[in-house]
């Protein structure tokens, strides 16, 4: 026990050491509240129900340092980043690289402001998001992140604006001798009836470890459409914990897709509050783990008002010692009659040492609802394999074809073609790596 405490304190110290330059007074209270909440909750263990399958023990043993105040001069690792032509915002070790970020000459209706500057504006979306206690309540890692926010941006899409070009946040972690820990914080506000797309690429450079612990706040106002895609392709020895808070108004369309293939341990958590009627809310994703990777997707969907729809499909493949975790919860509050919720997790185990832990959960307090969830775990369909083999395709190739088809099928959920293509390329890369491993082994 004392050891755990020491680890907690060391982590907290690493995060508390960070500061956003020129922050106003109220910001101090926010980080203090984050630190206090983390101290109360502590680093979660397997005994914490929400972290039952994801142990952060490895994290506690590492000594992380705060990133240096000066920006690391690193190249953007284009091979790792999603290949899309977007409005780029670059964060290095959680600090905004203003020189490489598109902060000016933006399309009409779009404003991107460094977090530090946005904070100065009193009563803005940033203050509102950061002071929201429910964003850290009972969430130890989000609280830890809040204790040491390193930087980020405020993205504002004006009412009625239609931003065709995707906004692309590239978060780079630098893996060096001394592992750094950082806490990016981005706040997104999409005005009523607006339309926009955000892509996040989380990548790393160098060999070694780092710890990215981000929090993103997304508010989508009435009748707006917001597409939100994320590629988690961190360095293979990095830790990635990301919390996304989404709030939707009336008749919003929000769709989220997360492709996870990087890091040593990752947790992608999305908490959505459907605070309006006739919302179409989707959270989907693909996860591909190999070596000793541990990939966790945790989602929480709260239906607070009647007549909304939520859809959720996660598909995973787990090779070698890879471990996948899926925890999805749908909460239907009493007033949320006529809710239509669907949740599905499919996992393929490709190795005898792989593991999948799935916990799809429903908590329902309204009677006139249609909610269902499903989960399947298994290997490739023998009939399909036989069909391909009967046509002269070698077993090894046939298997890879089926895995690729299984994964690519999930990309159908992405509504923007260029993003689907860019993410599809990552699936191809992953399968190519796998084929190489198999060749080497045989």
């Amino acid at each position: 026990m004392p050891n755990d405490m020491a680890n907690d304190n060391a982590l907290l110290k690493a995060f508390s050491a960070m500061h956003v330059d020129g922050a106003p007074d109220w910001f101090g209270a926010v980080t203090a509240a984050g630190a206090e909440t983390f101290e109360t909750l502590g680093l979660p263990t397997n005994r914490t129900e929400a972290w039952k399958y994801t142990s952060l023990r490895g994290l506690g043993g590492l000594a992380f340092a705060a990133p240096s105040a000066d920006l690391e001069p690193v190249e953007i690792p284009r091979d790792s980043v999603a290949d899309i032509k977007g409005i780029e915002i670059v964060l290095v070790n959680g600090r905004l690289d203003e020189s490489r970020s598109a902060l000016d000459n933006l399309p009409v209706g779009l404003a991107i402001t460094p977090l530090s500057k946005a904070m100065e504006r009193d009563g803005g979306a940033v203050k509102h998001a950061l002071q929201d206690e429910s964003a850290i309540d009972g969430l130890p890692l989000a609280a830890l992140s809040t204790a040491g926010i390193t930087g980020g941006v405020l993205i504002e899409v004006a009412r009625n604006a239609d931003i065709a070009k995707p906004i692309h946040i590239i978060s780079i972690g630098t893996a060096g001798d001394e592992p750094v820990a950082f806490a990016p914080r981005n706040v997104v506000w999409v005005g009523a009836n607006a339309k926009a797309t955000l892509v996040e690429s989380h990548v790393g450079v160098g060999e070694g470890s780092y710890f990215s612990n981000s929090v993103t706040h997304v508010t989508v106002e009435d009748e707006a459409i917001f597409h939100h895609y994320k590629l988690q392709n961190e360095a293979r020895s990095a830790y990635h914990v990301a919390m996304t808070h989404v709030t939707c108004g009336e008749k919003v369309i929000y769709d989220n897709f997360a492709l996870s293939c990087g890091s040593k341990l990752a947790r992608n958590e999305i908490r959505g509050k459907l605070d309006g009627s006739e919302i179409l809310y989707a959270v989907n994703g693909v996860y591909m783990a190999a070596a000793n990777q541990h990939l966790d997707n945790t989602t929480f969907i709260e239906h607070a008002k009647p007549n909304s729809q939520s859809r959720e499909i996660y598909k995973g493949v787990l090779d070698e010692n890879g471990r996948g975790v899926f925890q999805g919860k749908i909460l239907v509050q009493r007033p949320a009659q006529k809710t239509d919720g669907y949740q599905m997790n499919r996992a393929l185990l490709l190795s005898r040492k792989a593991e999948i832990d799935s916990k799809p959960e429903l908590e329902i307090y309204a009677d006139d609802v249609k909610c269902s969830h499903g989960a399947t775990v298994g290997e490739l369909d023998d009939n399909q394999l036989f069909y391909l083999k009967a046509r002269g395709i070698a077993e090894h190739d046939a298997r890879n074809m089926l895995i690729e088809a299984y994964l690519r099928d999930a990309l159908e959920e992405i509504r923007m073609d260029s993003v689907a293509q860019a993410f599809g390329a990552k699936i191809t890369d992953w399968l190519a790596e796998r084929a190489k491993r198999e060749d080497a082994a045989s």
């Binding site: 792989a354 799935s358 799809p360 329902i364 009677d367 006139d368 609802v369 269902s372 298994g378």
Partner: protein
């Protein structure tokens, strides 16, 4: 035939009253002092004339219990149990053990008659069911033992088994649910007072369905039942458990433990109808039902099947589980859980796949009405060696009214690539169309709900033995009274 007619009559009576089992029989009880202590455990053990090893096991459990904390992970809320305010032993005062039913206290027999188990007639009736009636912790009468003995089947109270078959009890007691298993099971180990013991020898198909009616009676007496069923190679047994409890104002704790052991090619079918007193509209006075039920499929191609209809109790906490150790072994769980008014149920199963080609099926139907909360909580775990394991899970919830809750919390853990696991869950309500259709045909709304819910539960109900199926169907109707209109 006679039995069937009688069953139907009994069941018809059930429909006339909301809860007709709300009576307390006035029989003098011999009680241990209130509260939990080593002395009380020694008292229980002495009362039951147990051998030394049994007492030692109880004390070992008690020592461990003192280090444990009451679990709080289940989605149920209740007034904490004051363990010091419970009588752990209450036996009907009988000087000597009766040799026949004639010697049984007539007051007791009348109680059973009210419950619809006329023991006297049971013996006269064609050999349909053997009843090991449990009244407040001590078995008072066991029927058909002679007939069963011809087949080599042992069916007696666990206290008798401890005395008469110590080698079997010693070998299997605690082998499925160890003394340190969980808070309530450990408590049970320390203070269990009675329960049933069944032993089916190799190759024997038990000639009749074995049945126990549980009944909680004396005020403030926690009921700590212990049941142990062993099915040797190639044997088969179907066991029925049914429960009612009289109305009262104080919550009653019930922490039972059931252990099943199935050897090679053996099959155990365990069916439960539970309609203990659920408390009044606010839940006051209902039974706390914290039960640990677990079966081990030890041998290859063995099978354990749990079927339960849970309509009673204020709070239910129950997860009948299967440990599928033997290759090709099969585990099944069929459950209907109905909660109305202020009832809370957190129930489900665990299927642990260890052997090759092990199969499990889970069908759970949860019905929630009034202000009740109904949770399915289940675990399907496939270990690396469980080559070709297969699981199918279906959890359906039905909500009646807008003040209740239905929750599904499945855990699915797989560590074998050849395992196939499927889980499906749905939540819905009774549609206006269904109700309209029924009322058009002259059915009252209440009858319509009963019919629709019975249809919803059909997959589970068909797993119940005949004797239970009729009663259970009626129970569903009774449990949901007042939930509509």
């Amino acid at each position: 035939m006679a039995a069937t007619v009688e069953t139907i009559e009994q069941v018809e009576q059930l429909g006339t009253e909301k809860y007709k089992y709300g009576f307390v029989t006035d029989i003098e009880s011999e009680m241990a002092p209130k509260g939990l202590s080593e002395e009380v455990i020694r008292f229980i053990s002495a009362k039951k004339e147990e051998p030394e090893w049994m007492l030692e096991w109880r004390l070992k459990a008690y020592e461990h219990f003192k280090t444990m904390e009451e679990p709080d992970w289940a989605k149920v809320e209740y007034t904490p149990i004051d363990l010091s305010d419970i009588y752990y032993y209450a036996a009907p005062k009988i000087k000597d053990r009766p040799n026949s039913l004639d010697e049984v206290d007539p007051e007791l027999l009348r109680t059973y008659e009210k419950l619809g188990i006329p023991l006297k007639e049971q013996e006269v009736l064609a050999g349909v069911v053997a009843v090991d009636a449990v009244f407040d912790s001590v078995s008072v009468a066991t029927t058909y033992r002679k007939k069963l003995a011809e087949y080599g089947v042992i069916f007696c109270s666990i206290s008798e088994a401890i005395k008469e078959h110590p080698e079997l009890v010693k070998k299997y007691l605690g082998s499925v649910v160890p003394y340190s298993d969980n808070y309530f099971a450990t408590l049970n180990c320390a203070v269990f007072t009675d329960g049933s013991f069944v032993y089916i020898p190799k190759g024997v198909r038990c000639p009749m369905e074995l049945s126990t009616y549980f009944r909680i009676n004396a005020e403030n007496t926690g009921q700590f039942e212990r049941t142990l069923i062993i099915a040797e190679e190639g044997s088969y047994v179907s066991y029925l458990e049914g429960c009612t409890a009289p109305q009262r104002d104080e919550n009653q704790l019930h922490a039972a433990v059931v252990e099943l052991v199935a050897m090679k090619e053996a099959e155990i079918k365990y069916s439960t109808v539970q309609n203990w007193y659920p408390g009044d509209d606010t839940g006051a006075g209902g039974i706390y039902n914290f039960v640990t039920k677990r079966g081990a499929c030890r041998g290859d191609s063995s099978k354990i099947s749990w079927t339960q209809v849970e309509t009673g109790s204020a709070v239910t906490w129950k997860y009948p589980s299967c440990i599928l150790q033997g290759d090709n072994s099969v585990g099944e769980f069929y459950s209907v859980a109905i909660t109305n008014n202020a009832q809370q149920a957190d129930t489900g199963t665990k299927m642990i796949h260890i052997g090759k080609n092990t199969k499990s099926t889970i069908i759970s139907k949860g019905i929630s009405a009034g202000k009740a909360d109904n949770t399915y909580r289940g675990l399907v775990k496939v270990l690396p060696g469980a080559e070709g394991a297969r699981n199918y899970t279906q959890c359906d919830s039905l909500l009646i009214g807008d003040q209740c809750g239905a929750h599904t919390v499945p855990y699915i853990e797989s560590r074998n690539p050849s395992a196939r696991i499927e889980h499906e869950a749905t939540t819905s309500k009774i549609s206006e169309d269904q109700l309209f259709y029924c009322s058009q045909r002259g059915l009252s709304e209440e009858d319509a709900v009963s019919i629709i819910v019975n249809g919803f539960c059909k997959e589970v109900m068909k797993e119940l033995p005949m004797e239970f199926a009729v009663e259970a169907q009626k129970l569903i109707g009774i449990s949901l009274e007042g939930s509509v209109g």
